[in-house]
Symmetry: C2
Subunit: 236 residues, 2 copies
Amino acid sequence: MSASRFDSIRDLPLFAQMHQDSFDALTHGAFVQNFPPNMVMISEGEPADFLHIVQDGCVELFSTWNNHETSVTTLYKNSTFILAATIKDRPNLMSARTLQKSRIVMVPSENVRTVFRQDSAFAFAIVDELARCYRATIKNMKNLKLRSSLERLANYVLKQHHRHGDALAFDLPIEKRRLASYLGMTPENLSRAFNNLKPHGVAVSGQRIEILDLAALTAYAKPDRLIDDTTAEQAP
Amino acid sequence: MSASRFDSIRDLPLFAQMHQDSFDALTHGAFVQNFPPNMVMISEGEPADFLHIVQDGCVELFSTWNNHETSVTTLYKNSTFILAATIKDRPNLMSARTLQKSRIVMVPSENVRTVFRQDSAFAFAIVDELARCYRATIKNMKNLKLRSSLERLANYVLKQHHRHGDALAFDLPIEKRRLASYLGMTPENLSRAFNNLKPHGVAVSGQRIEILDLAALTAYAKPDRLIDDTTAEQAP
DNA sequence: CCGCCCGATTGATAATTGTCAAGCCGCACA
DNA sequence: TGTGCGGCTTGACAATTATCAATCGGGCGG
């Protein structure tokens, strides 16, 4: 049975509840592709021919305008992307590149649109996923518009702290220049921002972050569940 | 028949395709409410008890953090809001206030979630709306991260130009201080930004905008369909 | 083991954007 | 027709952020 190749995605929330027939129809013509690191898989403006699922590795979504580039988000194992463009049959708004060697499942958009109309469990899951992404993006925008770059960095450090099981020391999951772009600043500014976090209890050495004074950092960052709570929401 | 009060929303894309039974179930317990101008109808963090539809008037969605406020979008007649929070049964991420005397239809969120599960035409419409809002927000974020405030303003002027049927003169639809907040800048900076657009062919007097040199403005603004194309997408 | 390359850092400087204070202007209202 | 209020504008200044240039330093291939 050809579907066995796609067992790994069958249990993702987006596909878990759909009928097996629908899943088979969905994955008919789908395939798995391996990409080397730093490869642009998708360019913004192109039609969204495939729904993508990260089976393994790491993908950055980014956008470009007038020779500027900005990182929008980073996706890890089991994330899907290009869902909105796929459903609306519209061009991608973002480009995608691998950050590491990655294995990506590619499902023809045509299948997604067809099965979406036939299997209501799938349709519900899509609603859930779109609502989640939408809310995550609103939070992201609030973060950008309401905070200074130093405040954004402080909250980013706190978020990573929680991601790592409340550990007081951890490694950054991405390169600093990409983090800078994600946070809406230049690499130079990020470097200085890390220095400016020192008085707020953060020590940095290479990729390693140490929180020396969690209370001070939290007092400065003023995290807010309506901005920073990413229960199962995307971010790098 | 009680549904007659809701005739005006029956034809909106979100509700047009659903069965009449579903529509009746949806609007059972719904009501219309009139609000005076400048009234906060919804506060962020509160549960999303109702799906809101602007039947008449004008509503601003905004957010607050640490004594800062930012305008996220402005909605006019026939727009819906709080859909994502309603569907996910999660707290609102944004507050809402009327900018003018407004008439709002309020549909219990419980109804929305129930009918969404029963009427696939409604579910499809919700997917469409969520995908649209999501993409609009991504564009908004690209606008914020990739452009300077002057470039954002230039593109805003161009967008209004298209909204007004390519007219070279038109009135701003909202107060300047709200426009400033929407564009991510202070009112003072907006004032100066309008002055800085003069060399690019824009004249301002009060609410009135005149484009004296469309080619120059376009050359400066560099509009991009992946940021500025708002075919049926929300913005103030 | 060495040298190279690329990203990170630092310094100097400039551009952008925000803050504070004051004055202006149009409009609503008495 | 004053009068006052609120929003807009302007100016001076400060903070934030970007830019440009140079250096540092770690990892990798030869």
